[in-house]
């Protein structure tokens, strides 16, 4: 049958049916247009976002913490990625054999592992900060529910040697002590993030935008010299052990630049082992602990008197009968010396002589000098617990106090302040600011405290103190002329002086053109001797000799020194 002969065609349908279909179709179109208008204009942002989230990802970009190195570029602190092993306890169903294997790999007890895996929480760290090769072996076990996470761990290759300078960081890689804290904003890296497009296989195919650029921490070059630091640490350790001391500190300064070449304290700690990092071992004693310096302060009294023209190098001072009464208090010398020149007062360390010199000076001048030398003011390295020592206002000084301050009592300083103050004699009477970071252009001239003439005269006196007839022949070094001063101070305990001592020695070499200042402080030596000349001076000599050799400083004297330290009569015991 043909299509045209279909009888249905001949039926006439009512016109409204065609119109109805037309209207329905039109209505459908209008609805579609309306919907698309709505989606395109009103809901556009939302939909774009939804679409993007299907393929775009924001990923974190980690930044590393800066390295810390010494002045020769040897690394002292470095962050390197490690893995932390964590688990979802619910998913981690390990067989006893698997658990044993995992525990053995991680070096932990199986019972501890099982205890961690049976906790209720959703997330538990099994072991943090393990070496990458161990992490790889753990990953190879392919255990269910055991995951890894990348973290940074900070290593300190020098260990306890430079612990106090460097400090350490906490678990989140933020500085907690020392340089790590003081320079945290320089060293710390700032992680960034960026938006990328990933394909089906998870590969990044396009960089959409960098939301926040990551910023790696900057590397820091310290003024420390690794070799000298080690030498200082080892010598201090030896001295503290030999004299059964409670604590000790040592500082090495570069006279020409004001850079700190070494700073070590005992007791110390190993910053690589964060377990049990508490208590006294953390204290950076050279900066945070003050002590009454004792006789090491005498040269400043003499310098001020020279500067003010009150005395000359060879002015005679009567120190007999070996004691001096001011008000109700009496100052003693351990030995009666009789008439001494100013130089001999320093050489033989006479308290009476120093007190007499001080009493010829106005108290204001002494205070001004101490203040100019930096006593009483913190050094502001940014280390926690830095102190400035105690220098009382001049108005409250009594004559007896002025006299005792002349030989270093009634005033308290830190070892670093003491070392810095000696720079005025090692230089031509000026004082440089100290720095812990390596300087490209050291300041040429510092703040003038004394004239060059005074500095040279005191330097000659300090040389005499190390020679036979002085208090510290043990500070001599073969090949170099040494200048320095011993100090042996009674310790203040709850307001009165105890039979405990702080032995110290501060000196510099070579005396003709000083390069280094070394200050040694030994707290409560309880062995055979307690005098600065016996306890601290040998450590000074070891460090100074080794450092000068390491720096290649040409010798300025005969290689065979006048070492007479072993002869009992030669060494003069200083006064307290």
């Amino acid at each position: 049958m043909k299509f045209s002969s279909n009888p249905l065609l001949s039926r006439v349908l009512p016109a409204w049916r065609a119109r109805l279909v037309l209207i329905l179709l039109l209505g459908g179109f209008v609805a579609l247009i309306g919907r698309s208008l709505y989606l395109q204009s009103f809901r556009n942002d939302f939909l774009q976002q939804k679409g993007e989230s299907r393929y775009a990802r924001v990923i974190e970009v980690s930044a590393t913490r800066g390295r810390v190195s010494d002045r020769n570029g040897d690394v002292l602190a470095i962050s390197t990625p490690v893995k932390s092993i964590w688990a979802i306890p619910e998913d981690a169903k390990l067989s006893p054999a698997q658990a044993r294997h995992l525990a053995a790999l991680l070096g932990m007890d199986v019972r501890e592992l099982n205890r961690k895996l049976t906790t209720d929480s959703d997330f538990v760290f099994i072991k943090r900060q393990i070496a990458p090769d161990v992490a790889e072996r753990v990953a190879a076990l392919n255990l269910p529910g055991i995951q890894q996470q990348r973290e940074y761990r900070r290593y300190y290759p020098a260990g306890d040697i430079a612990a106090h300078v460097l400090g350490f960081t906490g678990a989140e890689d933020a500085g907690q002590e020392g340089i790590e804290l003081a320079y945290d904003n320089v060293l710390a890296g700032r992680p960034g993030s960026r938006r990328v497009i990933k394909d089906r296989r998870g590969q990044i195919v396009e960089d959409v935008a960098s939301i926040k650029a990551p910023q790696d921490g900057k590397d820091l070059t310290l003024s420390l010299d690794g070799k000298i630091q080690y030498l200082a640490y080892a010598s201090l350790k030896q001295a503290v052990a030999e004299h059964k001391a409670k604590a000790g500190g040592i500082v090495v300064l570069d006279v020409k630049t004001g850079e700190i070449l070494a700073l070590a304290n005992l007791p110390t700690y190993n910053p690589n082992n964060r377990f049990g990092l508490v208590g006294a071992q953390l204290r950076n004693r050279a900066l945070t602990d003050t002590f009454e310096p004792g006789s090491t302060l005498k040269p400043f009294t003499a310098a001020l008197a020279l500067e003010k023209g009150k005395v000359r190098f060879d002015t005679l001072i009567q120190t007999a009968p070996g004691h001096l009464t001011i008000g109700s208090a009496t100052i003693h010398d351990a030995h009666v010396h009789g008439m001494l020149t100013v130089a001999q007062v320093i050489q033989k360390s006479s308290n009476v002589g120093a007190a007499k010199i001080a009493l010829s000076l106005p108290a204001e001048d002494m205070w001004q000098m101490f203040d100019a030398l930096g006593f009483g003011n913190p050094l502001h390295f940014g280390f926690p617990g830095e102190v400035g020592g105690r220098l009382r206002p001049v108005k409250s000084w009594k004559p007896i106090e002025q006299a005792t301050m002349a030989y270093g009592h009634g005033i308290s300083v830190t070892l670093m302040q003491m070392a810095r103050a000696y720079m005025v004699f090692a230089r031509d009477g000026d004082l440089l600011p100290l720095t812990l970071t390596k300087l490209d252009a050291p300041p040429l001239v510092g703040k003038t405290v004394f004239s060059a003439q005074t500095a040279h005269e005191v330097r000659a006196m300090l040389e005499m103190a190390v020679q036979p007839g002085g208090t510290a022949p043990k500070a001599q070094i073969a090949g170099y002329r040494v200048a320095g001063k011993t100090g042996t101070a009674h310790k203040l305990e709850s307001g009165s002086y105890a039979q405990k001592f702080v032995a110290s020695f501060v000196g510099f070499a070579p005396a003709t053109d000083p390069r280094l200042v070394v200050a040694v402080m030994i707290d409560e030596p309880s062995g055979a001797g307690y005098y600065g000349g016996d306890v601290a001076a040998p450590a000074f000599a070891r460090v100074m000799a080794g450092s000068l050799r390491a720096l290649g400083v040409p010798p300025d004297s005969d290689l065979h020194p006048l070492l007479v330290a072993n002869k009992e009569d030669a060494a003069v015991k200083e006064d307290m």
């Binding site: 962050s79 195919v205 080690y230 090949g479």
Partner: protein
């Protein structure tokens, strides 16, 4: 007229395929860049670990221990040191002919 339309249509097609190809190429290059940057990070990490290893092996405490205990080295005594005057003509170091 029809011919022009045909030519333009072909040109559009070629352009479209070219865009797709360029985009694909860009993505491939980008993946490569990503890979190399990853490698750079890995190498940096390795460098850090090597630096760490070096300073551990070359630690002054370790060197001193080996020098003293294994190699039996010691610092020269002052009597064993001879100082040469750099400027003196009698100094043998000054008379050595330059090589």
């Amino acid at each position: 007229m029809a011919r022009l339309t045909f030519v333009l249509a072909i040109a559009t097609l070629v352009c479209a395929i070219g865009t797709v190809a360029a985009n694909h190429h860009a993505r491939k290059l980008f993946t490569e860049l990503e890979r190399e940057q990853g490698r750079m990070r890995d190498l940096e990490v390795e460098w850090g670990q090597l630096q760490l290893e070096q300073s551990t092996w070359a630690g002054h405490a370790r060197i001193e221990k080996i020098a003293r205990e294994r190699l039996h080295l010691q610092a020269p005594k002052s009597s064993q040191i001879i100082a040469l005057d750099a400027l003196a003509p009698s100094n043998p170091a000054n008379t050595v002919a330059p090589r």
